[in-house]
């Protein structure tokens, strides 16, 4: 596991890693990376606002109150403030709980939630310029992703929820940069965060799954603030045979953390889900939306969805009984797209999933697995009442790396999440404030846009 010949042998991988990250944070973000960071931030914030009334957020707020926590940190979407710890926990939880957040496909990390949560928890206290805030967010995401790549894919495959384990490292980096640390303090924060990984995949299907990025954010705050007090973990905490990498994976490639400074950005590979369900069903939903634009639902007698075999394995539920099951049902996604002309969060609410119209379309839809169809492609065949058959093809699903969500699509997603909670004016402000963050004097406007109070919120 050790790279004894590398120049970092004396000071350790964490210090070299922190040095690379500090270089990234000192230079202006390359424009495409700044833009990608803004997209990730908008996505994470709008999801946290959209889920702000989830029972898990209620429980976090109730626990914070019962324990006597109090403070000025905003909880996105709510008219309620708390301390930095619970603020970070609530925001990171809410951004992930709908399984609708960003995904770095190689590692399966959802990097936005934890780093956004740290930014919101510390922005009031540290008063960064917009550019500084965006760099701290982007480099924190990058830290998560590079740490994740160095131990992937074995780490996730064994059963670790990588968004929690690597999230704490990224969160510590975002916190350290916002707090204005020098390189040695940043290295201490990274080392301490490496002792605080969390997340077993056994938690999937419970609130504990989204607890992982929330607590990763809180752990990152603790690691950074402990580093500010001069506390530290051993220099080789990552590469030691009794350290982070050996504990969490059978693979460790330190060059993925410390090589190629600035030459590559893993954040550039970040993707965004257009639909709140398993990603392999997305091309079939795209095809259904195309079909719905061509024919009336009443004209369709039967549907055959030709798809990658993984769709049947992972999304093969033909008769989901609630929203959670529907997230694993490709035929529900197709049915919702045809009945409602969209497949957003509303199409995955329990009551919507159980209605007769979508049940009828699901029942008349057949999944046809085909090993020749790529994971981001699909072909949907519709048999019509007049006896003819028409077909829709999707080469690359919306939101795939070959066909990233456009800014307009991402903004439409954000509006659909934010508007029901904070109103249209807040949704518009949020969009402006995030996309204008790199030139904003501070984060004040952004912090105002994520809570009730602007215009006529509902």
């Amino acid at each position: 596991m050790r790279s004894t010949s590398a120049p970092d042998a004396a000071t350790g991988v964490a210090a070299a890693f922190a040095g690379r990250l500090a270089e990234l944070a000192r230079a202006p973000l390359p424009p495409p990376i700044a833009h990608e960071a803004e997209r990730a931030l908008l996505n994470a914030l709008s999801l946290a606002i959209g889920a702000s009334r989830h029972a898990g957020v209620d429980a976090i707020v109730a626990a914070a109150d019962a324990l006597g926590a109090h403070g000025e940190v905003a909880i996105p979407g709510r008219d309620k403030r708390t301390d930095a710890h619970f603020g970070a926990l609530a925001a990171g939880f809410a951004a992930h709980v709908d399984d609708f957040d960003d995904t770095h496909l190689f590692t399966v990390i959802h990097p936005g939630a934890a780093c956004m949560a740290v930014l919101i928890a510390l922005a009031r206290e540290t008063v960064p310029s917009g550019d500084h805030a965006l760099r701290a967010f982007a480099v924190g995401c990058e830290a998560q992703l590079r740490a994740g790549v160095s131990i992937s894919p074995e780490h996730y495959d064994r059963g670790w929820h990588i968004t929690g384990t690597c999230g704490a490292i990224g969160a510590a980096v975002t916190a350290a940069l916002l707090l204005g640390f020098d390189d040695p303090a940043l290295a201490r924060a990274v080392r301490l965060s490496a002792t605080m990984p969390l997340g077993h995949r056994d938690a999937f299907g419970t609130m504990a799954k989204a607890f992982h990025p929330g607590k990763a954010a809180a752990n990152g705050l603790l690691a950074a603030r402990s580093a500010a007090q001069g506390l530290d973990a051993p220099l080789d905490v990552i590469e030691n045979e009794h350290g982070f990498a050996a504990a969490l994976s059978t693979r460790f490639d330190p060059q993925q953390m410390i090589g190629a400074p600035g030459a590559r950005w893993e954040l550039a590979e970040n993707t965004y889900k257009p639909y709140p369900c398993g990603i392999v069903a997305h091309p079939s939903i795209d095809a259904a939306l195309q079909l719905g634009a061509r024919v009336q639902l009443g004209e369709i007698v039967a549907l055959r969805a030709h798809c990658n075999p993984l769709v049947v394995d992972l999304m093969g539920n033909l008769d989901p009984v609630d929203g959670l099951e529907a997230r694993f049902s490709a035929v529900h996604g197709i049915a919702a797209a045809l009945c409602d002309g969209r497949a957003g969060l509303a199409q995955y609410e329990d009551e919507r999933v159980r209605r007769d119209d979508v049940r009828a379309v699901r029942a008349s839809t057949q999944l046809v697995p085909d090993g020749n169809i790529a994971r981001d492609a699909a072909r949907l065949e519709a048999q019509l009442r007049d006896g003819t058959t028409i077909e829709e093809r999707v080469e690359h699903a919306r939101g795939s790396t070959a066909r990233p969500l456009t800014d307009d699509e991402l903004i439409a997603k954000a509006y659909a999440l934010v508007e029901p909670v904070l109103g249209a004016e807040s949704a518009a402000r949020l969009r402006e404030d995030v996309f204008g963050l790199d030139s904003a004097a501070n984060c004040g406007a952004l912090l105002a846009a994520i809570v009730p109070g602007i215009g006529a919120h509902v």
Binding site: A69, L198, H200, A208, A247
Partner: protein, 240 residues
């Protein structure tokens, strides 16, 4: 599964129930006495400030007094060799007792239960080499003790233990130094936080220890049955 015999509880379910039920018998009496002795020893340590704990106190991002108390006490105890083994269990119990209904036996009962859960985590399963076994066992024990002091029912206690399991951490490389003390301070903080969350309705994996991708599968080898063999009648924590 559908036979008429009483269903055998999984390890997580059984430990959660053990954490919150009333105990009696010779083994428990002995465990309670040991816990009282540990509390007294902790009291003697906690009268003097300890460097790592003082720094950690400033570093905490929560101002919730009970969480701060758990973190600082456990970190201070962990920095003394003789008190490291159950630092999180004692720190969490001391803090949780402050907001629990007054009962002068409750803190030692919680520590006795927590120490028993921890003894089973250390003794019944074999952790992979990189892990700080004592810290992980201490964390699960701390969660059991906090669940008891918070008056959780068995179902809530299971969620509290599940939150502790999914946060189980502690690296061997950090064990003997200040980062290892923080690991124990954090375990106590997390135990109290988890109990409060579970009481407020937060959920976690129902079989967080023995599940297919739970603590034992990811971090250790060994059978979950061994964890709960003789639980409640045979007190491993007092057989030295």
């Amino acid at each position: 599964m559908s036979s008429a015999a009483a269903p055998v509880a999984g390890a997580s379910e059984a430990l959660a129930a053990f954490a919150v039920v009333e105990h009696a018998g010779e083994g428990f009496v002995e465990a309670f006495r040991t816990a009282e002795a540990r509390l007294a020893a902790a009291g003697a340590v906690l009268v003097s400030p300890r460097d790592t704990a003082e720094r950690a106190k400033i570093a905490l991002a929560s101002n919730a007094a009970v969480l701060r108390r758990a973190f600082v006490a456990a970190t201070a105890l962990a920095s003394v060799d003789a008190m490291r083994e159950d630092a999180a269990i004692i720190g969490a119990a001391l803090a949780a007792a402050e907001i629990a209904p007054y009962d002068d036996r409750a803190p030692a009962e919680a520590i006795a239960v927590g120490r028993e859960v921890a003894a089973r985590m250390r003794g019944a399963i074999e952790f992979d080499a990189p892990w700080d076994v004592e810290a992980i066992a201490d964390r699960i024990g701390a969660a059991a003790g906090a669940a008891r002091l918070f008056g959780l029912d068995a179902g809530q206690a299971r969620h509290a233990l599940g939150l502790a399991a999914t946060q189980a951490a502690g690296l061997g490389v950090a064990e003997p130094v200040s980062a290892g003390y923080l690991t124990r301070g954090k375990a106590a903080f997390d135990a109290v936080e988890g109990a409060a969350l579970a009481r407020a309705g937060f959920t976690s994996a129902p079989a967080a220890l023995e599940g297919r991708r739970g603590l034992i599968a990811l971090m250790a080898h060994g059978s979950a049955e061994a964890l709960i063999q003789g639980l409640g009648t045979h007190w491993l924590s007092v057989v030295s």
